[in-house]
């Protein structure tokens, strides 16, 4: 079976990852997955103000996800929305287990994720970019986080949905995965689906994450020591 854009069911969209795209930031990365583009910038660790947010034993990870107004067909109103607040939270939870936050008490690590172009899978693209940017900023980590969304159309499990597929799918399941420790740090799902299907979908997602992980490694290597 072929998909709407000619891919195989278990094939990712064309993937481009670039590290060090923003000079001003301590670390940054751009992830382009088909027509979805995410840019992440990391600042810090730096002193956290207001003081009441400081944690005495570990750093505070602040993730800000936003879609730029021209990222979709209809203009996105700038500023936080119900949806973006949720994504900020799940992104933070996806990244937190991979970072040695206890090394920088009372500080903040700022992660700003901007979606330049949206065509489904923005939160996973954002997580991919953020994890490369964190590594680029020299933040101590247990491993890189890779993320991808999976879904099911009719009887086929498909990897990395695009916008058209997302409208048709029975379920949409973004998964974030720390490859080295084999931990799943984000698992969301909307739609209606069997228990058996979930297991299959998870297997497919982890396969996609591994491919992304290899690309993330390559991007960091290119940035720091060339080919």
């Amino acid at each position: 079976m072929k998909r709407i854009d000619g891919r195989k069911p278990d094939e990712l969209r064309p993937l481009v990852i670039k590290a060090g795209v923003i000079n001003q930031a301590d670390g940054s990365a751009m992830v382009k997955l088909g027509n979805t583009t995410a840019v992440a910038a990391v600042y810090g660790p730096r002193l956290l103000h207001p003081k009441h947010l400081q944690e005495p034993d570990r750093a505070y990870l602040r993730t800000v996800y936003s879609m730029v107004p021209f990222s979709t067909y209809e203009r996105v109103k700038p500023g936080p929305s119900r949806r973006s607040i949720e994504i900020c939270k799940v992104t933070r939870h996806a990244l937190e287990p991979a970072i040695f936050l206890e090394e920088f008490p009372k500080t903040v690590i700022d992660v700003f994720i901007d979606i330049i172009e949206a065509d489904a899978g923005t939160r996973t693209a954002g997580i991919n970019a953020a994890s490369v940017a964190l590594a680029d900023a020299g933040i101590p980590m247990k491993g890189l986080v890779s993320a991808v969304a999976v879904g099911k159309i009719n009887d086929t499990y498909i990897l990395d949905l695009n916008g058209k597929e997302e409208e048709e799918t029975f379920c949409d399941m973004p998964v974030a995965y720390i490859n080295r420790t084999k931990e799943v740090s984000l698992l969301q799902m909307d739609g209606k689906i069997d228990k058996k299907d979930i297991k299959e979908l998870l297997k497919l997602a982890l396969k996609g994450c591994e491919i992304i992980y290899e690309e993330q490694k390559k991007a960091l290597k290119n940035r720091w020591i060339g080919d």
Binding site: P105, I178, R180
Partner: protein, 230 residues
């Protein structure tokens, strides 16, 4: 008896990213920027592997400055408090310079402490002590410590400072000699320089930061300085 196998996954000076397995062995100890999990040692930060004896560590390529006791740093006076000054040292930590840490005796009733160090002054100070990981106390009771009145201050990446100093100070001494200038290097990524050829020094320091991974950089810089000097 079981034979202990140590399996080297990454060579010395090889590039690693966080989570890369460096060595699989219980004979080695995780050093800086590394951690052990099970039988293996993994890289914690992005950088280059360095294995010296039985210690495995990673030389970072990016990141912020984390103070250590004994470091000389360049800081900017931010605020006057009851018993000292708050100093910005280009790091996530808050640095405090108490009145007891300066050479002059200060009685705040009789003398205005701002006459000694005003807000905005740049100082070269020693990290005297640290409480926990974030609160730093500075001291000016070191022969090298002083206030900068002239000259120029450059900001480079703190992880590139060892390269700017060179092996046993080879690079920094070369700069001082060839360009006939005064340089004070802060471990926190700030560098103070003064001299006739200040523009050349700025250019060279920026070059060292950019080309820090190149081998034989000291010779290259020596050549460049020779050319600029004529």
């Amino acid at each position: 008896m079981m034979v202990v196998m140590s399996e080297l996954k990454k060579k010395n000076r090889e590039f690693v990213i966080p989570g890369d397995e460096i060595i699989r062995s219980m004979d080695y100890i995780p050093g800086k920027n590394c951690f052990r999990e099970g039988e293996s040692i993994y890289a914690k930060r992005l950088g280059l592997v360095e294995i010296t004896g039985r210690v495995v560590s990673v030389i970072p390529l990016s990141g912020v400055y984390i103070p250590r006791v004994g470091d000389m740093v360049i800081g900017r006076i931010e605020e006057l408090q009851v018993n000292g000054w708050l100093v910005d040292i280009n790091s996530p930590c808050i640095a405090y310079l108490p009145f007891s840490g300066v050479r002059e005796y200060i009685d705040p009733v009789k003398v205005d402490p701002l006459k000694i160090y005003n807000v905005g002054d740049m100082i070269y100070a020693k990290v005297a002590s640290m409480v926990g990981k974030v609160s730093v106390t500075l001291s000016m009771l070191d022969p090298r410590a002083r206030k900068f009145k002239t000259g120029r201050i450059l900001k480079i990446s703190p992880v590139k400072i060892p390269r700017l100093i060179g092996k046993r100070g080879s690079m920094i001494n070369l700069l001082k000699e060839k360009a006939r200038c005064k340089i004070s290097v802060g471990q926190n990524g700030l560098v103070w320089a003064e001299g006739e050829k200040i523009d050349v020094i700025v250019k060279v320091i920026k070059l060292i930061e950019k080309e820090s991974h190149v081998e034989g950089l000291t010779d290259m810089i020596a050549e460049l300085l020779e050319k600029e000097g004529s």
